[in-house]
Subunit: 170 residues, 3 copies
């Protein structure tokens, strides 16, 4: 019995990963997700970020990558923001402020840019997963995403979530 | 002591339900919530989806149901989307794409429609709960919602959340 | 061994706090977050609400507070809603309904106003934390926020999240 007990204890003790679904492609929500992720990684936690739907745009390479695509896939590719630098805010875009102003203010106040946050995340071993189904729907190929991204399905997300005590949908 | 220990173990072992608050009535977020829910159910997990605020619209029957209502309740009923087929996207609506295009692309890529995902959820025993308070505020009656929906309050949601190791707000 | 075991048990048993990141400054999402928070507090749970980005606006005092600020900080202060009474809906604002109508309907149906929900939260000991970094970026000072608010960073949020079995991002 002691063995099974220790096993249970072990299972419990290690269930403190952090897993986020990053559904949104808004600049502000992207920044928030990476700040939380990097904070948790700096505390020694395993972090998985699962990018789905609009969140995939955060992971796009800024330059066009040559791949063969059908008409609809090309349309999606053109209409959606190509990478982190093209993301918009969820709020206050209409009032003339928008993403550039927030970026400037964050820089003035010495807050890392989204691009720096993403680099830090990859360097600290945070797992960046692109949702397989969303890639299919939007017609994205792996080579169009930044380096270091892994592809996975909802099953993979759920297995990571299972081992996490903090699960967020952003 | 062994007994209390085993009990504790048991409590811990069974705390792996999944609970989601579906606050949003956006087509894309609705799809994401049902994909996650169905994935978890297919892994044998108990899943509870608590629909509140705009999320209630996802559960509306597409046809008008004859019920006596006050003026404001009628207004709400008319102004909000009547069921899953009328939902809009959280994004890209302005650029002329919108919900029909996403639906077409998902069909082309053999992804289930929202309606199929909802049916699958109900058939696999996922608990679909409509928020009592939101129904009162928006003037919805139970007979206006699709079959198989249960009504519950925030206390019910919290008790389900308590037994879950994945909790999301969508 | 029994000692370490009991300690583990204890750790596990008390890990049922509730922690929310309130990122959004929408009236409807603010109401939802406080209804969940107050519900959990009434069940005797410890609740922490971490207000970041637009969520900070919920905590602003309605009247202007005299503080020295730079140009950009003043701009932010003027452009963003000053407190809970100025928040807008995430939805249906365009159709002429908006926040006042929802407030009226909620009042008619005897649902507490956001201001009452906030007061109840503070009175029941829910921890209201304003994100340090967001305050820096937006140029908010502590005296501009309602009384009873604590300032904390992402590290503080993560340590509270660690002790919670319900974690939400709103």
């Amino acid at each position: 019995m002691n063995d099974s007990l220790n096993q249970n204890m072990h299972t419990f003790e290690t269930k403190d990963n952090k897993t986020m679904v990053v559904f949104s492609g808004d600049l502000d929500r992207a920044i928030a997700s990476f700040i939380i992720a990097n904070g948790a990684a700096s505390m020694g936690k395993k972090v998985t970020m699962f990018f789905t739907f609009w969140g995939l745009n955060i992971l796009r390479k800024p330059d066009k990558v040559k791949v063969q695509k059908g008409f609809m896939d090309k349309m999606f590719g053109m209409m959606m923001p190509r990478g982190s630098k093209k993301l918009k805010l969820s709020n206050m875009n209409m009032m003339g402020m928008g993403a550039p102003m927030i970026r400037k203010v964050m820089k003035n106040k010495n807050v890392s840019s989204l691009e720096e946050l993403i680099m830090a995340a990859i360097n600290s071993g945070i797992e960046i997963v692109a949702c397989q189904m969303s890639m299919d729907v939007m017609g994205f190929r792996k080579e169009e995403l930044i380096d270091g991204v892994k592809i996975g399905g909802v099953g993979y997300y759920l297995s990571e979530a299972e081992d996490s005590n903090v699960n967020l949908f952003i």
